[in-house]
Assembly symmetry: D2
Homo-oligomer: 338 residues x 4
């Protein structure tokens, strides 16, 4: 079927490619025109203005947005709402805050424009593997777009079937799911990313313990400020983390796709020296905690994972200085610089 796609960054361009390769017609638009040319060369219909973009689509139009959350998405939705006709559909495939979806869908409904929020996971691997999609909005609109979702999703592939699934209908096994009314798609994607932070942190903390398992060789000196290592003989291991990540991929309880990627990263570069360790966070992790707090559900693991990212960027510096200042006040402790 025909679909328009706005936003041809990392994710957007690959989504167009996966659609083109499977016989869909894609009309594309992007702020910077070079990315449009690239995809025209691959079979898309390029457009230079939002006006032209809309005019190239046959009503009722289906328009997939893949632009940064927040202001950029807001601007495009607002602009489109002036250009579209009743029964047209806007699909926000980016990482919008689900609360924005609730608001936008209500506003667009006044003009009879439909809105779907689609949390899309898959990253740079999605072109080949397919995208996992969590969808919020009206059931019948989701059904109308089923050919698009089916193409973008990974499908069943050779993943072992969950026992009992043979008795259940639905699209979850194909890698896309109608989760509920508007906002539901991005809510589920938000929590997905919150979980992702937690999983990543669990691996990182564990591997960091293995990384320091040779600390007994260092001869750490004891003084009034630093606890001595009581049993240096227990920490004499030089572990090969790339090998350990690899062996865990095979039959262990911690096997996962994130572990697969960790094994790749550690094999490529065992000391990770090209990374500084300043970790970004892009909204969903924060919103996950905010939602948990609104609900009153405890999320110590997911929060700790988020805070590690804040700390990695130095946001705990003033707090740390204050701790040193207190220690100096009550004990005359002077900082030990390592």
């Amino acid at each position: 079927m025909q679909i328009g796609v706005i936003g041809l960054g990392r994710m957007g361009a690959n989504i167009v490619r996966r659609l083109l390769r499977n016989g869909h017609d894609c009309v594309v638009y992007n702020r910077s025109p070079e990315k449009v040319q690239q995809l025209v060369a691959e079979g898309a219909i390029g457009t230079a203005t939002l006006h032209e973009f809309v005019s190239q689509l046959a009503p009722p139009r289906a328009i997939w947005l893949m632009v940064p959350a927040g202001e950029p998405t807001e601007q495009i939705v607002t602009a489109l709402s002036q250009l579209l006709a009743p029964e047209d559909i806007i699909i926000d495939g980016g990482n919008s805050y689900y609360i924005d979806d609730i608001r936008r869908s209500k506003e667009l409904a006044k003009r009879s424009i439909h809105y779907l929020d689609v949390g899309t996971s898959g990253g740079v691997w999605g072109l080949e593997r397919g995208y996992c999609m969590m969808i919020g909005g009206a059931m019948e609109i989701v059904k109308d777009l089923d050919p698009i979702f089916k193409t973008l999703a990974p499908g069943r592939g050779d993943i072992t079937r969950t026992p009992g699934r043979e008795k259940v209908t639905g699209t979850a096994e194909d890698g896309y799911l109608h989760c509920g009314t508007n906002g539901a798609g991005h809510f589920v994607k938000m929590v997905h990313n919150g979980i992702e932070y937690g999983l990543m942190a669990a691996y990182a903390e564990g591997l960091n313990i293995l990384h320091h398992a040779n600390i007994g060789k260092e001869g750490r000196s004891a003084n009034a400020e630093t606890a001595p290592l009581q049993h240096p003989e227990h920490y004499q291991y030089d572990f090969n983390l790339a090998e350990i990540a690899e062996v865990w991929r095979r039959g262990s309880v911690v096997a996962s796709w994130l572990l697969d990627l960790t094994a790749i990263a550690l094999l490529e570069q065992p000391t990770l020296e090209t990374f500084s360790g300043q970790i970004s966070d892009s909204g969903e992790g924060r919103w996950t905690i905010a939602a948990a707090i609104d609900e009153g559900t405890p999320v110590p693991v997911l929060s700790a994972a988020l805070y590690q990212r804040f700390s990695s960027r130095g946001e705990d510096e003033f707090a740390a200085k204050l701790l040193s200042a207190m220690r100096f006040q009550f004990g005359g402790h002077v900082e030990q610089h390592q």
Copy 2:
């Protein structure tokens, strides 16, 4: 090759079966004799006493222990050390504390008995999938037992190969790894379990947020003791967690074996009503934190995961009462019972 196995519980019996099915000779011993009979019926050589067990094995003997960590393992190792001859090998495949391995291996070395510590992951699924094994001890002993490890391990199967692995030798891709000197195997397994706790908690917390996403429907009342929900309209979702767990298995960043199991569990029983939520912890999670603290490496996520288990068993009760008592003292706050 011939191998003796002591301890025919859940894990031990299946290890014997996997060895028998692949042509190895197994001499087995267990405290309660019924389990021995069962495996004799499947082709093992059963024995009724530790003496008989040892006498049935041709020197140099290889003896795999699969008994509970701590006292039970200690007793068996002590008893065996009296019965075995130089060059015999004890393999501790259980969940021993790696510090016990260091001690035991030194004591056994005085009698020229070899010792391997083998962290074994795979649970009830290992019989079919194979076991992931992390091994500590002398390299040449590990090599002597390679046929055993190769049989027990999953092998490469159809898991995607890590790019670059074609240039690397070693057994990690087959699902077993010599991690280092004695203790290394159980150290790596310990951290593996620590990570496992963190991963499990990340999924559990995230799914709990989804479980409570309908809280806006409840009309939570506000009073001086309880914060009102500011935007009930943001929490009106009734999510189907089994479907969400299923869709995440397909192309999402959080896909993992634990998620596969979660999808099974939620499909079988969406409300999990047969579980009470009192979660055991079996040593490795605690030792992981103890090792991290010895090393001075921060592990907020792994710790939080462990503490949730303690709290689930009511171990925070006195602390909670104390908080209520303080609130009563400074604010006259009386507990609100829900």
Copy 3:
């Protein structure tokens, strides 16, 4: 000076009393009239309607609100805004969300009504000790009300002076402070309460460790599901927590007012048996975390303290069941009920 007070609950009534005892004129109003009668008996001017209340005050009026945050405060402010005249002052002494202060102060400014947000700490002890007040709003309005704040605040008392304070002017030493523009008062109070949660949790966790220091006497049994206690001989202490809390009040680093209250609570009732341990949270703790996340500042301690309260009310139940379900799936582990 003359002041009107609306809301005669625990805090509001004592505020009126402290003002009356120090020569101020108080006009009071409360939804339920019995509380008004009580304070009339103590010297206040009682009123039966909001209309009467406003008419009893000489312009420019100063009106102190001490009603629950959220809807109740919103309703009173809205009602008052219709009755008041330019230059009148509304003081919100309750626990409002500072974001509401920002909005309200802007709306009232359109009618030239002034607004102060005053975070008020002191609880049931404030009548005798005085209230610590954190104030947001226009400087000149704060100055106009200085007699009120001075009366309500504790004053310097016999608290040791901070060295260097003799060179500084301002009211902080008297126990009240103009913190900044509107919202600043409740922002500082919010963080104050966030810290309070953290302090309380630190004491509760530490005392809980002491409470369980006799665990070695119990003979905890080991099985495949539960870690054995490796050194029962290290946990043979029956500590008297009331005595310990008392001794810490004298010269230790952890001396504090919350510890004073803890010592009272534990002396009154060493086992705290009248408390169930379901701990409320009343908004500020949550808002503190939300602000930290907006800012990107890590707050693992304050978050953990908040989540303990959620868990104490059973909000982690579904997550815990899920952990049990996962353990059952991968290891056949059956829950151990204690």
Copy 4:
């Protein structure tokens, strides 16, 4: 009475001074002799060797050790055990691990030498304020040394009496307490310090939130890697932290001695620029967590406080790099350096 003191560092020298000023006879010894000379000038009897030290004391001797925990204390105790006579008393006033106390007291008992473990809090302020002491060992030995403890402790001073204390006997109100058998003193002191870490972190995190409350003025830019600040207008406050710490000292719920010190530190140096924020930890914090884990009691707050210190020293660096490496693998995310 007569007492010997070994170890004349920050704490030890002041303990001698407080004893001398109150009429006790002090025989002193220190590894570096200058510190001995200093105290001789103030009235102590100086000694140059351990032998001389012991010979200057009249049996039964009482010897107070104030040397670093671990190896230094171990060496002195071992050396003394060769020199002392039955009924002599060794008092370990340092920060020893309580498990060492249990062992040492048993060994010394074989020679009929008594041992007390005395957790001593008070820091550089103890000379004037007195020391809070938590004591483990045999009751009758504690009683024999009562004059020493009474002198070193703060006494009741003008601290408000806990209601109900008038009906209770004992020394807690004077600032010292016999907590139980050997190890009990250092166990309670250990937990005291664990709580101290938690309290300090609570203040530091809260004040850090206030410190960043002007983040809305910065115009933080949004991109695919960083979450935009949704409401910059809510973070426009430039708080004076020294004033806020001061006002909280007066009638607020968070008033404490640590807050007093914070107020001093922030008044001296509002930006804390002489501190780097690398925070030491000296054993008790770690042992507190280890004890909690042995007991199975959850301590998320105390753990988070400890881990902040580890992270402040860069011990999370490898974990952070790994997170960046994972993000690069799945999303092509390149680190944003701030």
